[in-house]
Symmetry: C2
Subunit: 321 residues, 2 copies
């Protein structure tokens, strides 16, 4: 990030025709975007929504309200342009790229064995890194994968402590028995993998999934290219979280698009020191919340770029205190 | 509102390719808009942002961080297209109409006398009613008026009880002494006007202002035309509040675009049973928060209109419980 661009953007904000601070987080966003794009006035000409899809062996444990084949069906729905994310990406002015990751080959059931071997982890992370176009102005990351809120809960517990009950939620809508099975699956994974989960990337391999590994890779690649990232919900946030464990500023280039209704998300964002832009009770995934939040960024940058200064407009400033 | 259109929209939501409820408030918005537009799939082809401006005699009490002439200067800035609201209205796909209401003639200082006489109140409310184009799909209401957070605080206290200290905030950025003067002005107004404030419209006349009366009129006219309304911040919410006091469902056609950083707004929205769409620390007025929230509505309606049903997409539904 460029401290110089951030300082210049903050200075510009103080000259615009509004009481200082009165645009709230829109002002912070203008400064954040300037920092990561290295321009006092950042732009959003090329926004990409990356949706990674994967299949999960843990679905055998009855952790989802929907059958595992829905993952492939929804990937087809994305291709037909008729899913929620197609509408929300278009509305955000984002191009949508859907990347299925061997969805015909589920990860191993992580209550029994590591979800991925090392080659599989590397392949998935590399797919995520390769999906990021270095010319992007912003990358939104999201996912599709029946069973993946259980993987995300296991990963959150591995990284930040607690048990299954602290992190699982109803996902696509499991009943009380399903919720209990999710907590049991997480607890079984924590017991199975034990101290090996102390390494954040090893935790991603053992209890994550291919689409989580890809999101982690994409978020890392964006950082290397100096591109800001908009995280989607609970799963995407958990997927990126290993970067924050590896380095204190590892997610400094990321915004939380929203806080979802999935139980663990608010706590996870707090652990990541991320404050969500939206809080609308969404819990769909697919990068839907991230794309909706892009509109807030566009509004912030429109003000930052288009407003007159007090001097230009001949507006009297605040009298000296 | 049309119960039939609302029911049909809610039924449509359950067929779309997503877990039931997973779009959160976006689903509620689709139903709300269907109800007020009387169409199962509502549209936002014609969105209007109405910004009313007025001047306030109470500014003589030192209640604002900015001099009173800034109201006229900002109206000129709106006309030049360089204020925040110009950028945010364009981004929302809204046409902006600015309606100055005798800004060369401030209301009376309401600590001493009613802010408006009856003819002035009627003229201001009528201006607001006339500003609403019956062909609009949505009307956003906002304001500009140095001193008007003090008027809004006085009106909120008149309608919902409490004293000045319960409702005043820093507005454009007053210091502690200014904040104290605001509370004193509200308390003086409550003492001066007494029991007359028990009538909501009389309270608007005595402690409101021209732009507040116009917002109240515009919100009422929208209801008569069956047009949903997006409220902006503290001042716009207080201005519309008499309608909620006059009838329990008086603001059923209104959404709160955001909750502002102005101290009293969260409490006022709670009193109005309105849950804000955005919470971004904004406190500018000008309909800025309302216009930013229009993008959330557009996202909601894009999903409602554009998504495939489970049957169309060949996606397996949730198994029977």
């Amino acid at each position: 990030g460029s401290d110089e661009a951030a300082r210049a953007a903050a200075a510009r904000q103080t000259t615009l025709t509004k009481p200082p601070g009165s645009l709230g987080r829109l002002e912070d966003i203008a400064v954040f975007m300037a920092r990561w794009q290295g321009n006092v006035v950042a732009h959003l000409d090329k926004v990409e929504a990356l949706v990674f899809a994967g299949s999960h062996g843990v679905t055998a444990r009855g952790v989802s309200a929907f059958p595992a084949e829905v993952t492939a069906q929804m990937v087809a729905n994305f291709a037909s342009g008729r899913a929620a994310i197609n509408q929300l990406a278009r509305h955000a002015g984002a191009s949508l790229k859907v990347i299925p990751l061997h969805i015909d080959r589920p990860t191993a059931d992580f209550t029994q064995a590591p979800a991925m071997d090392e080659a599989e982890l590397v392949e998935a992370m590399t797919s995520g890194m390769a999906a990021v176009d270095p010319a992007s102005d912003l990358v939104c990351v999201g996912e599709m994968g029946i069973g993946n809120t259980t993987a995300a809960a296991a990963l959150a517990a591995a990284l930040f402590g607690g048990k299954g009950v602290d992190w699982v939620g109803r996902g696509t809508g499991v009943d009380d028995a399903g919720l209990s099975r999710k907590a049991q699956a997480v607890d079984a994974a924590l017991a199975r993998h034990g101290a090996a989960l102390g390494d954040p990337i090893e935790a991603l391999r053992r209890v994550g999934g291919r689409e989580l590994a890809a999101i982690c890779g994409a978020t890392l690649a964006a950082r290397l290219h100096g591109i800001p990232v908009m995280l989607d919900g609970f799963v995407a946030s958990a997927a990126a979280a290993p970067l924050a464990k590896l380095a204190p500023e590892g997610l400094a280039h990321a915004l939380a698009g929203h806080v979802s209704a999935e139980t663990g998300h608010r706590k996870l964002l707090a652990a990541l020191h991320l404050s969500p832009l939206l809080d609308l009770g969404m819990r769909l995934g697919e990068a839907s919340g991230a794309c909706l939040a892009v509109n807030v960024l566009r509004g912030a940058l429109a003000c930052h770029a288009g407003m007159a200064t007090f001097a230009e407009a001949g507006v009297s400033g605040s009298p000296p205190a």
